[in-house]
């Protein structure tokens, strides 16, 4: 992949993550998560202008590439709109307009829902890295943030180790929720499948 494609891909992945976070901020009416969406929106702006500059640069030095560049530029505009939509969802929370119960319920009832689980001392997840837990493959639940003490770790991905006391915020299908909670509270020990 060349640099333009790498940046475009980063925009795509970021836009999806922003949307997951935005809905999480809305379901829990949580300003800290909403703030993170705003923070990511800034890095999106930055990526957006860098892609534009690079596109112009390539277009002027290699005119044969222009047709291809047009596709990239149009695609990034669409991706940017998705990020903007995420931003305007987080904005509802930051304006203090996120209290209407219908907002939280509509996310709760949707096909991809969001759920919280606190990791117990006796949990099989305790002490494992996210890569080891393979949570999303096990139960379809994808951890988008951890609240550890007063801090948040956003997009833990394959990085940190799960600790007792962590609150995991995950999205996924309704059917995966109880298994996910069971793994976290220590009642479900089977992580093998």
């Amino acid at each position: 992949m060349n640099r333009l494609e790498e940046m475009l891909l980063e925009m795509k992945d970021t836009s999806e993550f922003m949307l997951d976070l935005a809905y999480s901020s809305l379901i829990y009416n949580n300003e800290e998560i909403a703030e993170e969406v705003m923070f990511m929106a800034e890095s999106m702006e930055d990526l957006y202008s860098r892609i534009q500059e690079l596109a112009v640069e390539i277009g002027t030095s290699k005119p044969e590439e222009v047709a291809r560049i047009v596709v990239a530029v149009r695609l990034q505009a669409s991706i940017k709109s998705i990020a903007d939509a995420a931003k305007s969802i987080a904005d509802v929370v930051l304006r203090g307009l996120g209290k209407h119960p219908v907002l939280a319920m509509s996310i709760k009832e949707s096909e991809t829902t969001i759920s919280l689980a606190k990791v117990a001392e006796s949990s099989v997840l305790n002490g494992k890295t996210f890569a080891e837990t393979r949570l999303s493959t096990q139960c379809g639940m994808f951890v988008i943030a951890i609240k550890r003490n007063r801090e948040y770790i956003f997009g833990p991905g394959k990085g940190p180790t799960v600790r007792a006391g962590d609150i995991l915020i995950a999205n996924g299908p309704e059917e995966g929720v109880s298994y996910f909670r069971g793994l976290a509270d220590g009642t479900e020990k089977d992580l093998s499948l």
């Binding site: 494609e5 891909l9 829990y28 999303s136 298994y179």
Partner: protein
Amino acid sequence: MADPEEYTNLDHIEMTVRELLTEMKDTSEVIVDLAYAALMYNSEDMAEKVNELEKKIDNLNFAIRFKVLLSSRTREDAKQLSGLLQVASAANKISDAAADMVDLLNLPLERRPFVSAMLHESDEKIRATRIGPQSSMAGYTIGKLGIEACTGCRIIALKSRQGWIYDPEDEVKIRAGDDIIVRGTEDGYNQLTEYAAGRKPWEFPEIPEGEEETTPQEEAASINSEEKVSE
């Protein structure tokens, strides 16, 4: 009250505001997956479905605006309901973006070979696999299998002998020979292909009984600071 004759002909008007918003959120997620899949597989059919869903969201958005405006009585209503409308219009914006994406299919194919290569490297990948004759998934519905809960892969589209089904419902049955297009992680996809090819028997998820329902508000108490929750 207004004469019901005047608005009962609006699409989706029989749905509640909560149902409308849920439907808009779900559709806005499906439509983006489908748009990326259309670009990856260069599929006019999927692009057409994207445009269809985009029109559906337009109608849902209209219905929700209409119902919300009808229900606003006080200043406080207006304040809370305007937040709701902002979320609805975000879903609408997402669907517009998806429709713009599939417009790229109108450009000659040789100009966009990098798009599918790029999407292939994404965190959540869109991939296709076939249900083999030996697969123990065959004969069961998507809901019974609990495919997303078991593998993290969500079926975006399914091709059976009858043709394509986009965003198939839980009631749709998987049959040997079907092609499915899914979205999920690499790990989840690898697991799914084992089941689909029949190399591993499907493990049915346990359906939890009498599940304790927690409301989002109750859950929120564990992450939000106390002064905000007490409000």
